[in-house]
Symmetry: C2
Subunit: 467 residues, 2 copies
């Protein structure tokens, strides 16, 4: 033992910014969260998949997203000459690209509609800023089907997410809301006015809650000028988009979903300026889909879901329904669970038309928020239910082994104390939060919470009966 | 939809060698394995921790292991000037280094003896060869305690691993064996003969099952020549080591653990040449510890554990007990679960003496072996127990939602069919392996396996009662 001590060189490690790590008592709640989410996803029939931590850089690049600065690529510390031509590998930055690649690659082995969930860590090589994570869990569900996916699937997502989020340990009293819209509505209005590509407009509107009003207004004005060729059109577009956002506020603030639907049905139908152009059919499709989704969610509690036309999402691949989820009292915190309908996500990798719909919980960010606010039900430092203090008599060890087996077969987690000092063992149980100590020699059990001690028979003992 | 089709550019992705990925039906069994292992580890009181996928390169380097060529370092695809001085990050290649770093860093917040399990993916940037994985799961348990850790903990490891491995789904009929030894025995013999550092000798002997006999003999001869300064000593060392391995074979082939212990107690005591030098106390410590571990494992089935003196492990940090686990009928496949006792694993990061003992299941390699051999109980492609076919009458939808809720509250996984074509829905259930289809309109359930169909009441229905 002295051997290594003499020449000991110590390198004191520091936490790596953006890569969170929890103590066992926090990790235990994290596991409860992951278990609960998995359980709920499976109860709706979603199958688990897991993809490697890495994708070929070409696969990520094929999606054409502007995520270059977030990508971590791998290098072997000692790369040899013969691998210079190998494909470059990058850590995945979300689960959507890997999922799309997975569906394309295993297309012939999957049964459609394919419903999958995926709960893995993802990595984003951002410069670490206040609270920004570079490694975090995402929990995603998606449904994908060749050629055609009924709109009724779009209504499943908010219902599942509502059930999942509101019953997470520690989330019970949080006031959250799922906001739903449909990109086709604004897209249809723009088409009506001769604007074919609304992507940059969506990206701008996506920032409306993150920017202060004057900044947002300036950005929007710039954007509109780029979209129109005459001053008259600029003025009209500006008026219509601002009107759209105002109408959106009115819809959102209606007293319930029935009222929202009623307002949506009449949205802009009386607007003379738009009427002049004649509505594009995309507009009616979008309204109709949004109304269908809302109607299917009427069984959720009031306020759980709201139509919010200002929700558009920043990613290019959404083509219809879009979702965001916010803390009602702190909407600027941003969305904790987002997603939407896409037309052709796997289309970069396979010559098929594969529409789908999906939603993603930003797990680690949500978990860390509740942890910081002291809202997680953190209790024990280990899963042990019973600490057995072994008998002094060596001949009794076989009996103790039987006791261990009986308790474990009941589903209890059991540890046997090593060493002989009673006081030390009791302190161990207390510090780790182990609820019961079993004195094998006397056949007695001590309830560490109440301090009560009594004789117990392993076969009939049920510690959590009255707790 | 046509929009994106016109300009579609397809990048057909290929599997990345060494990064396995499973279809949903295989992943489902993988989850059962992970759940089972976790459940068993927790039933012995081990707490979960998870560390980031990366460590500082300095932390990995501080361990001084020769793993450079296996390390993947991260680079941001677009790194900016201001981060040139940042610590380099590398993907962890095992869970031992991260665990040691974790204990050092969180020392004041942990309760000792600290018992943790860790089940994460690790990465090794090797050139991909036949069957070599570059990303795989490891499942580790370790116990660590400042200054002193009783030897009785060393006996826990094989017992837990035996219970874990033999009840994994698909592993029930595999003939496996845990081989135990203690490095101090050979180390003590070498000390007796004036050889202080046995590390390189351990590394050589570790290869004895991987090499053909002539290769191993040559390697051993070279090694022995390096260790001795006279020809006489070379001859003596050679004779003693070969005698040690022969005696080891005899011990191992004894008919049961009692016989093994008996042989160990007399090991070399009659050897005149060693007697001449006088035995170093390390030798007796090692024998004594090995015998204690074997005696504590007498409750396991015959053949589960065997003393095997040729087991030494290749890693430098082991200082006492060492374990390997093999398929008895295919020992050249190598160890599927290995570990041992270490004196000072976290000592590179903190000025404390922290002895510990641990063992690690090479999860993915084991799983993939059984998968290749067709031994995994692969069945359903999704977790769904019941597929509900909704009623045609819209007014009945509320009743169907109640049915869904009742079934889910029983712990069943339930999917509602979308779309109206009966034949398509039945085909879907069949292809995905969903065991029951519920016709909401008629209140009838069809058992897809037997083909039987009968009326059912949601509240009292119990599908798995008779299965």
């Amino acid at each position: 033992m002295g051997m290594s001590k003499d020449k000991k060189k110590i390198y004191k490690p520091s936490p790596i910014s953006g890569f969170p790590e929890w103590l066992p008592e926090v990790r235990m709640v994290e596991q409860q969260w992951l278990d609960h989410i998995r359980r709920t996803f499976e109860s709706y029939g979603f199958a688990s998949i897991e993809t490697p931590a890495v994708e070929e850089l070409n696969v990520i690049a094929a999606k054409g997203e502007d995520v270059d600065k977030e990508i971590y690529v791998l290098e072997r510390l000692q790369a040899s000459e013969d691998e210079k031509g190998d494909a470059r590998l990058a850590l995945h930055f979300d689960q959507t690209v890997p999922f799309a690649r997975y569906v394309a690659m295993h297309f012939n082995d999957l049964v459609f509609p394919f419903k999958r969930y995926q709960m893995q860590k993802v990595w984003r090589g951002e410069r670490p800023q206040a609270g920004r994570m570079r490694e975090f869990y995402q929990c995603d569900i998606d449904i994908i089907n060749p050629d055609n996916l009924p709109i009724s699937f779009d209504a499943d997502m908010p219902a599942i997410i509502w059930e999942t989020l509101t019953s997470l340990p520690g989330m019970e009293n949080e006031n959250i809301q799922i906001r739903v819209s449909n990109r086709k509505i604004l897209q249809g209005m723009m088409k009506t006015l001769g604007v074919e590509d609304s992507q940059t407009l969506f990206r701008t509107i996506d920032k409306h809650e993150k920017l202060i009003k004057s900044e947002f207004d300036n950005l929007l004005t710039d954007e509109i000028q780029k979209l129109s060729d005459t001053e008259k059109k600029t003025a009209l577009l500006g008026k219509i988009i601002s009107n759209f956002l105002k109408q959106g506020e009115l819809v959102k603030n209606s007293k319930n979903v029935e009222e929202q639907i009623k307002k949506l049905k009449n949205l802009f139908l009386e607007d003379i300026e738009i009427k002049e152009f004649g509505f594009d059919k995309t507009y009616f499709e979008g309204l109709d889909e949004l109304i269908q989704v809302l109607e299917s969610l009427s069984h959720l509690p009031e306020g759980a879901v709201v139509a919010d036309l200002s929700i558009v999402r920043g990613l290019d691949y959404y083509t219809g329904t879009v979702y965001e989820t916010v803390f009602v009292d702190d909407p600027t915190y941003g969305s904790i669970c987002s997603g939407g309908r896409y037309d052709d996500l796997a289309g970069s990798y396979i010559n098929k038309h594969l529409p789908g719909v999906g939603i993603s919980i930003g797990f680690s960010r949500l978990f860390d928020r509740l942890r910081n606010e002291g809202k997680l039900p953190i209790s024990r430092k280990c899963p042990t239910d019973v600490l057995i203090l072994p008998p002094r008599d060596e001949d009794e060890i076989a009996n103790m082994k039987r006791l261990e087996r009986i308790l474990r077969d009941k589903g209890l987690n059991v540890e046997v104390a090593h060493g002989k000092k009673l006081q030390k063992q009791m302190a161990y149980a207390e510090k780790k939060g182990i609820p019961f100590v079993w004195f094998a020699e006397d056949g007695q059990v001590k309830d560490m919470m109440s301090g009560e001690q009594e004789s117990a028979d392993a076969a009939s003992w049920n510690p959590y009966k009255e707790h």
